[in-house]
């Protein structure tokens, strides 16, 4: 077993030495470092300009984490998407395959190396993250959950990239396909969700029973209602409503929503989420709520019972959170399964002695 990890470690080292020492990597990491710094500074000044408090650094923190996820998912396919077929083109895959390293060790080693390189972009943004932490206002569990999910999501993209580079012959195609997978998860799920919600529509019937203010005598100075409340004829309106509650599951596969939903949200005294995690998670949570297809707003009956709110009920975001289900683990599970399948496929495809070869490729 030690021997297995020894060889695996050698492959990881080999990959890292090839990639981390490259100028392109240094430039990219520096760019990320500077960009995250600029974004942090701008966010900080814009919030303090609006008279925000220290607690708002939770908002800055969550925004930076999303920014790192964005940068990470944009850069990782380029790092990992040609790991195997690029080596085959360069003639270095076969010379590794004839050593005692198995195809499993080669593919996993390349994956671990690509993941490590992706994480260096997270490391480059650590100074900015530390700054928001020192400023306070970021709860420990939010920190742990968001960083954990971010690290895993970068691993998923690295695995998909390495996996596709083993399954697709041409490096260019595998890199592009990896980008398409990332785009499908990040943007495609949003499009599918929106279009799906609009495609499934239901007729909503709203009944409103108002108060006839033209009769009933004087107005009560306290409640504002007439002394003698007379109801109007019920007003019935029907119109189509999109059924996002049927398709909200699609959003579960979105990495940004997984990240937002996984991080525990802190609420202010009005029940509103305090950071970007909460704001985005609220979106997917609200989508779970099915619209009331037969809503009756009986202002008249409510007034008779002395309710001055006019039968309008209002749910705070916190209440919505409390009565809906979290979905991040489903999304994360989908991603991990996708990553594992890609890697398993690549291992099977690079196994030697090779039976069938991808068309148009040479072994060595």
């Amino acid at each position: 077993m030690t021997r297995y990890f020894d060889t695996l470690g050698t492959i990881v080292q080999l990959e890292l030495q090839q990639r981390i020492r490259s100028v392109a990597w240094l430039v990219l990491v520096s760019v990320v470092f500077v960009l995250v710094g600029i974004v942090t500074a701008l966010l900080w000044f814009s919030i303090t300009a609006f008279g925000g408090s220290v607690a708002d650094s939770a908002g800055v923190y969550s925004t930076i984490i999303f920014f790192v996820l964005l940068v990470g998912t944009l850069v990782t396919p380029a790092i990992s998407g040609a790991a195997i077929n690029g080596d085959r083109d360069a003639g270095t895959l076969a010379t590794t395959q004839v050593t005692l390293a198995t195809s499993g060790q080669i593919v996993l080693g390349k994956f671990l190396a690509a993941w490590t390189v992706a994480l260096t972009f997270l490391v480059a943004s650590l100074p900015a993250l530390l700054f928001t932490l020192i400023a306070g206002g970021v709860p420990g569990d939010t920190l742990a959950a968001s960083l954990g999910v971010l690290v895993l999501e970068l691993g998923v993209v690295a695995a998909v990239g390495v996996g596709l580079s083993g399954l697709i012959t041409r490096p260019l195609f595998s890199v592009v396909t990896t980008y398409l997978v990332v785009a499908a998860l990040s943007i495609g799920t949003l499009i599918a969700f929106t279009l799906g919600g609009l495609a499934f529509q239901s007729q909503q019937t709203q009944t409103y029973i108002g108060i006839d203010y033209s009769v009933g005598g004087d107005f009560d100075p306290v409640t504002g209602y007439p002394e003698n409340i007379v109801c109007l004829e019920p007003e019935v309106n029907t119109y189509p409503v999109p059924r996002f509650d049927y398709v909200w599951g699609i959003l579960a596969a979105n990495p940004y929503i997984v990240l937002a939903d996984a991080a525990p949200t802190s609420f202010d005294s009005y029940g509103n989420p305090q950071d970007l995690f909460g704001a985005i998670a609220l979106g997917v949570r609200s989508a779970q709520v099915s619209p009331e297809l037969n809503s009756v707003t009986d202002e008249c009956a409510a007034a008779k019972e002395g309710d001055t709110n006019g039968a309008y009920s209002y749910e705070t975001p916190r209440q919505i959170f409390d009565r809906t289900v979290p979905s991040w683990f489903v999304g994360l599970l989908i991603h991990v399964v996708l990553a594992a399948a890609a890697l398993a496929g690549a291992i099977a495809r690079t196994r030697t002695p090779a039976g069938t070869l991808p068309t148009g490729s040479r072994v060595a």
Partner: protein, 311 residues
């Protein structure tokens, strides 16, 4: 099969879709010998090498390398076999020394073993001055040497060299030949493919001829060896040589700058001819086969094949 056969190939075939790269290859290579793998471009040499190197699965037939089957036990074969591919690939940003060290580690050698072996090999292939340079700065010939060193990292008992001499300068070719002969004398079984047949003549003990994926049988090789072939004779006085040949009733080609070519069947007859010519007082300055053994056989075999002879 003899007990010392380290590479045993029997009726091996491999196709890629409709392309039958190797149809029927059978041969053996003994320990301590150098065998040339000879065939025209596209005759399946590299495909055969890849099957021996545990990278390709044969469609049918059996292969044994150091007693192991590359399909069922690639690990055992890999620890006994060193392969130098015809494609020159190297980890561009990594130094020559690190390349060899990493390869050693991938063969499950310890850090210290890998480091020592890397130093030995750097000296062996003469890359001392470039040892700390990244491999992308190496020339083609230097990459060939690195590739050879990489194949030797784990001290294999079977060595597969696919076009090892291409890109090497004459001095390096001589070094390669010496090295290969030395490895053979240490008991390594070497299979080497090349286009440069003259070079194989000097390096190899025996040859396997591959034509359209089929190895030529021993009988056919014997038959073509026995055929009369051209010998080249150069004399100090070409006129005297021409006269002597005419007297001996031997048909000769018109002389060119290399001398005169005559058709001779076998070495015994050649020796007799030389004796007669010397006896006749012709001052002979050069006397030898016009083409090397391998080239003669190769050309003869490919001629009979293209003429529709038995395949």
């Amino acid at each position: 099969m003899s007990a010392s056969a380290v590479i045993e190939v029997e009726s091996v075939a491999r196709s890629f879709g409709d392309v039958h790269a190797v149809r029927d290859a059978s041969f053996t290579v003994n320990a301590g010998s150098v065998t040339a793998l000879i065939g025209p471009n596209g005759s399946g040499k590299t495909t055969l090498m890849l099957m021996l190197a545990t990278l390709l699965r044969p469609d049918s037939g059996t292969i044994r390398i150091a007693g192991h089957d590359p399909v069922s036990d690639p690990r055992a074969v890999r620890s006994a076999m060193g392969w130098m591919p015809d494609v020159l690939g190297s980890w561009g940003t990594i130094s020559v020394r690190r390349t060899l060290e990493i390869t050693g580690r991938l063969y499950e050698r310890t850090q210290t073993q890998s480091r020592e072996r890397a130093q030995q090999l750097i000296e062996l292939v003469g890359l001392d001055e470039l040892a700390e340079q990244p491999t992308r700065v190496l020339s083609r010939g230097q990459k060939q040497r690195l590739s050879l060193a990489r194949a030797l990292v784990h001290e294999p008992s079977v060595l597969l060299l696919d076009e090892p001499a291409s890109g090497l300068d004459p001095a390096a070719r001589v070094e390669l030949r010496t090295l290969v002969r030395r490895l053979a004398s240490e008991g390594v079984a070497v299979l080497v493919s090349s286009h440069v047949l003259a070079e194989l003549d000097e390096m190899a003990d025996s040859a396997v001829y591959l034509e359209r994926g089929v190895t030529a049988s021993d009988e056919r090789i014997e038959a073509s060896r026995a055929q009369s072939r051209d010998w080249r004779i150069r004399a100090v006085d070409p006129a005297a040589l021409a006269a002597a040949l005419k007297k001996l009733r031997i048909a000769a080609s018109p002389p060119d700058h290399l001398g005169t070519a005559v058709s001779v069947a076998g070495e015994a007859e050649a020796a007799q001819l030389l004796a007669k010519l010397v006896g006749a007082g012709v001052a002979i300055s050069a006397f030898g086969p016009a083409v090397g053994d391998f080239e003669h056989t190769f050309l003869d075999l490919s001629r009979t094949t293209t003429e529709g002879g038995p395949r």
